[in-house]
Symmetry: C2
Subunit: 241 residues, 2 copies
């Protein structure tokens, strides 16, 4: 099966800072996205770009450099303009989160999707914006909003990757969760200990047990934590006179 | 009512680069978060920090500088450690998206929540990690993952702000959507035009009308777009011989 994020192109229109292009490449690769298109860059890629790309220089080396946004978008079904300004057409404005279902519906269907960013200082021109069929704005503080090009690329790529692979399974150890019977075992054991220590005297036993059960449920124990607790309870039991 | 994002503290442990602190402040303010705590920074805030903070220098100026993480966390109910390494305790690892409901449940209840970041090169120490009661990892490419401190702060703050205020209403123009009767008016008008041009001859009229209706629904028209289309249809009608 194809890797769906290969259907996503990050399109930078008229980028003017080498460093930003490198940082964008790094942000892309960190989020598993590799197709970079530069439309009429006003700089050439240099050592500074490569330095900021860190180990994502393959993304830079494979970047397509094109003369026009039309070329970049020719095979895309969805072209998403990133914008932060209030626009006349703003009825179709979405947040990154709102546009995700549509992006995934397209790329899972093997259609191409472009995410289009404007020049650092000016953003997308009206002409560039009109070539896109969707508009996205990253929500933020209405009184102060300062995201540079690479940061905007990073947020979009983060949102895409998090939706593509929301799980952290590869980072997790193999864990066996406690079963209901494990948890009940702890509760019963604890109950015995409390009886032996006369803890319940003049107290509402049912209520206390229910409360302890609630705590055990919330702790969401693992198998080896059950063993630890049972071991502690056994030791305490031995020491009760 | 209190502004709930004021219950969030961004805690940077042992930050060692002035620039990162400034960039983090800027990322925070852009996402409406202002409480910054520096635990034992190995640098002092300087002009470089202020430069990178851009207009977020108020966040830097109000930053608390503390000697220990314990002090920073003393009044928090949830302390979230950001980590990217596989850890022994990784059973409780969440993504930023997974932890959001818990963050909002706390801050809306006026409890304090800390998001805790480690030093640039080393991340959080085991001791720092153990003082936190939640762990979060930003998902990304398992083969290449490169986020600096300020970028990690930015992604967390973006996720928080987007969950706090998912709407872009303040950016949208006032729009009146087309009603069902507006859409039906277009369809009826189009139908008349097609009849007058004999377009339906030898065709399945019902099916064509249904198809056109479907297109009109998908276009999600606004009131003034309805007026535009009706105007065009009137002009066409006049010119049909």
């Amino acid at each position: 099966m194809n890797y769906p994020l290969n259907n996503i192109k990050i399109v930078l229109c008229n980028p003017s800072h080498n460093g930003n292009i490198g940082s964008a490449a790094r942000a892309m690769k960190t989020m598993g996205i590799s197709q970079l298109i530069l439309v009429s860059p006003t700089v050439t890629l240099d050592d500074h770009s490569l330095a900021l790309a860190s180990n994502a220089k393959d993304v830079l080396e494979n970047a397509l450099i094109l003369d026009s946004l039309d070329q970049a978008l020719s095979d895309t079904t969805i072209a998403i303009a990133l914008t932060s300004r209030k626009r006349e057409f703003s009825h179709s404005l979405s947040t990154p989160k709102e546009i995700m279902p549509e992006i995934f519906s397209s790329i899972n269907n093997n259609e191409k999707v472009a995410i289009v960013f404007g020049a650092e200082r000016t953003g997308l021109s009206i002409e560039q914006l009109e070539k896109c069929n969707r508009m996205v704005t990253i929500p933020g503080n209405p009184e102060y909003f300062s995201l540079n090009l690479a940061q905007a690329v990073q947020i979009m790529c983060y949102e895409i990757y998090s939706n593509y692979n929301p799980s952290l399974e590869h980072l997790k150890n193999n864990i066996t969760k406690a079963s209901a019977i494990d948890n009940q075992g702890i509760l019963n054991h604890l109950d015995e200990v409390l009886k032996k220590t006369n803890y319940y005297k003049h107290k509402n036993e049912t209520r206390i047990v229910r409360h302890l059960q609630h705590i055990i449920h919330k702790a969401n124990l693992e198998r080896d934590e059950v063993d630890l607790i049972r071991g502690i309870l056994r030791r305490i039991e031995q020491k009760i006179v």
